[in-house]
């Protein structure tokens, strides 16, 4: 194992343990409630994780289409980057063609990330809401995306990609990136709420 891979592995373990601890720290959510259901919780949850992502499903998405789509692409690139990052630790070789196909997605995701950061810094209402964490988190993801794209095009950049990924992972439990584990819970609860009451799903 190379030094950068060892650093990445250590960061991955630290991040996973910290995020798991943070998630368990809020406690478990009680099951079905006492009030008789009008609709189906499971249908609501299915809706939350499928159709509710469509741009026209929510006013906040449809009314801010460029931002919403940029966010979707940014996250798609992020997931792809994280998957590729983990693969660098495994004893498998990724076909070159796959890396070459991944590079444009990572590049577009990077552009989206930078665009979202620019919007945050230049829109007064958004800037007023922002904390240093918003900038740091965005830049760390952007750095990882950029190095991932570089590594996809040139395998020699792979150690830098691993170190950038390690940095991102170590930072993840400290700020807003924690939403990666809590979002699933919130979205499930959102679906359960509206599903149970017969409003959605």
């Amino acid at each position: 194992m190379t030094a950068s891979a060892a650093v990445l592995l250590a960061a991955l373990i630290v991040a996973a343990a910290s995020l798991a601890r943070a998630r368990s720290g809020i406690g478990s959510v009680r099951g079905p409630g006492y009030a008789a259901a009008r609709g189906s919780e499971s249908a609501g949850v299915r809706y939350a994780f499928t159709s509710a992502f469509l741009p026209w499903a929510k006013e906040s998405a449809g009314g801010h289409l460029p931002t919403y789509l940029a966010g979707i692409v940014y996250h798609a690139g992020l997931f792809a980057m994280l998957a590729r990052l983990v693969v660098t630790l495994l004893p498998v070789s990724v076909p070159r063609v796959l890396d070459l196909a991944l590079a444009p997605l990572l590049g577009v995701a990077l552009a989206c990330g930078l665009g979202l950061l620019a919007k945050r810094l230049t829109t007064p209402t958004l800037r007023a809401l922002s904390q240093p964490d918003d900038v740091v988190a965005n830049l760390l993801v952007d750095l990882a995306l950029a190095s991932a794209a570089g590594a996809a095009l040139s395998p020699g950049v792979s150690p830098a990609f691993q170190l950038a990924g390690a940095l991102l992972l170590v930072y993840a439990p400290l700020g807003k990136l924690r939403h990666m584990v809590f979002l699933v819970t919130s979205r499930r609860l959102w679906g359960q709420y509206y599903g149970r009451r017969g409003v959605r799903g």
């Binding site: 943070a22 959510v29 006013e59 922002s130 979205r187």
Partner: protein, 427 residues
């Protein structure tokens, strides 16, 4: 003052914690809030209101918030911050949940505001008007301190009046009758200020040959502790009516037209009391829909010729799931029924929800935030606005006057009663 509030933060509901951890401050929810749309103040955006609570959460519940608070904006709870929290949670939010429905991430800003309010309860910072209603309900069984004798006298007078106006001596407003199928529970404002809605419901029950009763004690469906997010008092207030329903041995508790009353009894009471109830809880709106659909009540839309529109109470519709029954009834009861845009679960709050009508310190902002609803109403060209919620009625009456809308504000029962074909004439 801050220690009790921090205690609430320490015993946080995991659902709310998940929301606090999930907000990425994207602010895409801003335009879903009627308060923000009206005043354009960044502090009114749901994300900004959530952030006030989230910064406290980070400070006291996360490692980074304790060690490097500047990174995430974590901050200490001080008396000044508590005042700011009160202004945000009570003064800039009706907890209508429109931001929750529209949150791109899928978190629940309304529940976060609920946490803020619970912290303010612990700190003794609830607006005096809301707290006075809570105290009245706990002490007397209803938020307007109406004694049982006055309830019985008012209902007797209403019954007499109903018999005279209909010419039907068999119409009745039965009170405190055990063993009936239905208990019809009221908003105390109906007894004091809106007796016509009680008479309208009475006529419809009579037409449907329903086995029903009212109660002179613990009749109150309103729950200001629910607005305040004072879970202990909320449970105590709900328990009074639910125990009364159990004592009367009814099969169904029918909640008069009141959005938060319905939500707090139908959806929240079983949760805060931690038990299933031995009877069904339905809104009068749902019951009326059953009557009309089942042919127990016959309506003639030609009796209501003026254009009618419908305001959707947030707690009944978006948060209660009663979406279509009132529409089915209105299509049968009104000749020219038109929808506002947007409607149903997407409807804007009238501005009077969340207990704001009882918080006089925010009255000017409440009326200003209702401009959106006033414009919606004006665009329909309707002469009558129906809303199955007495809280919304109070706000709409004020908007009607303030924005010179020239409309009549009515309950669904009142419009349906006007369209009612008396049983001996039907079919």
């Amino acid at each position: 003052m801050t220690a009790p509030a921090l205690g609430v933060l320490a015993g946080l509901d995991p659902r709310v914690a998940a929301s606090l951890e999930s907000c990425v401050r994207c602010n895409l929810c801003a335009e879903s809030c009627h308060v923000f749309l009206e005043d354009g103040d960044p502090a009114s955006a749901p994300a900004a209101k959530v952030d006030r609570v989230a910064r406290l959460y980070r400070r006291y519940r996360t490692w980074s918030g304790r060690v490097v608070p500047w990174l995430t904006g974590a901050r200490d709870l001080t008396p000044g911050i508590l005042e700011d929290l009160k202004e945000a949670a009570f003064g800039r939010c009706t907890m209508c949940g429109r931001c929750t429905l529209n949150c791109a991430v899928g978190l629940d800003p309304a529940a976060v505001i609920g946490l803020a309010r619970a912290m303010l309860v612990a700190a003794g910072k609830v607006p005096a008007g809301i707290q006075a209603n809570v105290a009245a309900a706990l002490e007397t069984g209803n938020s307007m301190r109406i004694p049982p004798e006055e309830v019985r006298e008012t209902l007797a007078w209403l019954e007499q009046d109903l018999r005279e106006s209909t010419g039907d001596p068999t119409v009745s407003l039965p009170v405190d009758r055990p063993g009936r199928r239905v208990l019809y529970a009221l908003n105390p404002r109906e007894i004091k200020f809106f007796p016509l809605s009680i008479q309208a419901a009475g006529l419809l029950f009579h037409a449907a040959h329903e086995s029903w009763t009212l109660t002179s004690t613990d009749f109150d469906i309103t729950n200001y502790a629910y607005f305040a997010c004072d879970r202990g008092a909320q449970a105590a207030i709900s328990r009074k009516l639910l125990e009364r329903a159990e004592a009367l041995g009814v099969e169904r508790l029918v909640v008069a037209e009141c959005g938060h009353g319905y939500r707090s009894l139908r959806w929240e009471a079983p949760e805060v009391l931690g038990r299933r109830l031995p009877f069904e809880i339905v809104s009068f709106v749902e019951l009326l829909d059953e009557y009309v659909a089942g042919g127990r009540v016959t309506l003639d839309a030609a009796r209501n010729r003026e254009r009618v529109t419908l305001h959707d109470p947030c707690n009944l519709v978006r948060n209660g799931g009663v979406i279509e029954p009132q529409r089915r009834v209105l299509r049968r009861a009104a000749w020219d029924f038109v929808e506002m845009t947007p409607n149903r679960e997407h409807a804007y709050c009238c501005g009077g929800g969340g207990g704001l009508l009882a918080a006089s310190e925010y009255a000017a902002r409440r009326v200003a935030a209702g401009r959106l609803k006033a414009e919606q109403i004006r665009r329909t060209g309707a002469k009558v606005v129906v809303t199955p919620c007495h809280n919304c009625i109070d706000q709409l009456l004020e908007l009607n006057k303030h924005y010179d809308l020239g409309v009549e504000i009515r309950t669904l029962a009142e419009v349906a009663a006007d369209a009612l074909i008396p049983p001996n004439h039907a079919g």
